[in-house]
């Protein structure tokens, strides 16, 4: 069940990241941003990493999460602890990266992007679920 929830959250996150990525590509025009200043954040130098928009890396992350989580729901991987471990490692990295981005928004850019916050919360929830999943699948049990 937890893996299913993680998969569903990954899909939601994928659309959030795609929204920001399409904005960077110039497909969407202005961002819908009722709280904070999404444009200031997304046009800052911190919105690019290794030559690609951060949102692009977000899309890659959520696609990977979705793939692993969906695989984990298949019968043959149901009891596979490696799936839980992979999810925990991936979301752990995601939490650290989201934390870094949130720090940049608050302390460096001095603007907050609501969609980035949504993504950070989704990653945090997935991390909590992944840890719970890993704990439940621990060999001692």
């Amino acid at each position: 069940m937890r893996r299913m929830v993680i998969a569903a959250i990954s899909l939601v996150g994928l659309f959030v990241a795609m929204y920001l990525w399409l904005y960077k590509l110039g497909v969407l025009g202005q961002l819908s941003c009722s709280i904070g200043s999404c444009e200031t954040v997304n046009t800052s130098k911190w919105a690019t990493l290794m030559g690609q928009p951060v949102a692009f890396w977000g899309v890659c992350f959520y696609v990977a999460m979705l793939t692993v989580a969906v695989l984990g729901t298949l019968e043959r991987f149901e009891g596979d602890r490696r799936i839980a471990l992979a999810l925990t490692v991936m979301t752990g990295g995601g939490v650290l990266f989201s934390g870094w981005l949130t720090y940049l928004e608050l302390a460096v850019i001095h603007a907050i992007c609501q969609w980035c916050v949504v993504s950070a919360v989704l990653v945090l929830v997935m991390f909590a679920l992944s840890v719970a999943e890993l704990t439940a699948r621990s060999p001692e049990r």
Partner: protein
Amino acid sequence: MSLVASTSPRASQKRFVFVLAAIAVVGVGVLGYVATRPKGGGEAIDPNLPVGTAQGFLMGSPDAPVKIVEFADFECPGCGQFATVTEPDVRERLIKTGLVSLQFFVFPLPMHQNTWAASNAAYCSNEQGKFWEMHDRLFYTQDLWNTQATSSPDKKMMGYAKDIGLDEGKFEECYASKKHYPNIKASGAEAERVGIQQTPTLIIGGKKYVDQLSYDLIKRLVDEEIAKAGKSDTSKKGAK
């Protein structure tokens, strides 16, 4: 959990697929809608537009010891902040004192729907020697003509032309002809050529600065450039 435990794995899997499909349908629908909805002032720029001449608009003496090059988008909030908060000090203390010249290049970003209209207005104002007046007008009123504010910025641009004392007939003729679009495109191409990735970007002493530089930091960089060139310190010229 108990709900899942009480249902068969197959039923649970079915429900899972249904939930994923529902999220996918909603997500694709929302993205499709926002991508295809009429965008405010969404001006389609011809991809085959010829490339004209990249023109940097100069403020200050061409012989100033330090040259600052700025790449900016008229609709970018960070550029507006720089133009309205920091640049007045730069003009008063560094440009007017002859220490610095500022060369401004337009870099229209694809996510800004009204930036070409604003750039067009600035280029047409330049024909009547009032580029900087329009530059200031655009940045100070950015929230009144940007994509969120209006879908037809043309009227606003005409109003600004009147406000800054342009010959409205000549301005309108120039503006409507879009004859400077190739030059605006060239300016953007120049920004890409020198590796500008966001706006505003300042180039001081050959180095790019993409953070919002404060006046004090710009002053320090200018002093360093002057010192490097073995020229007198800015303080001797009265800059504070």
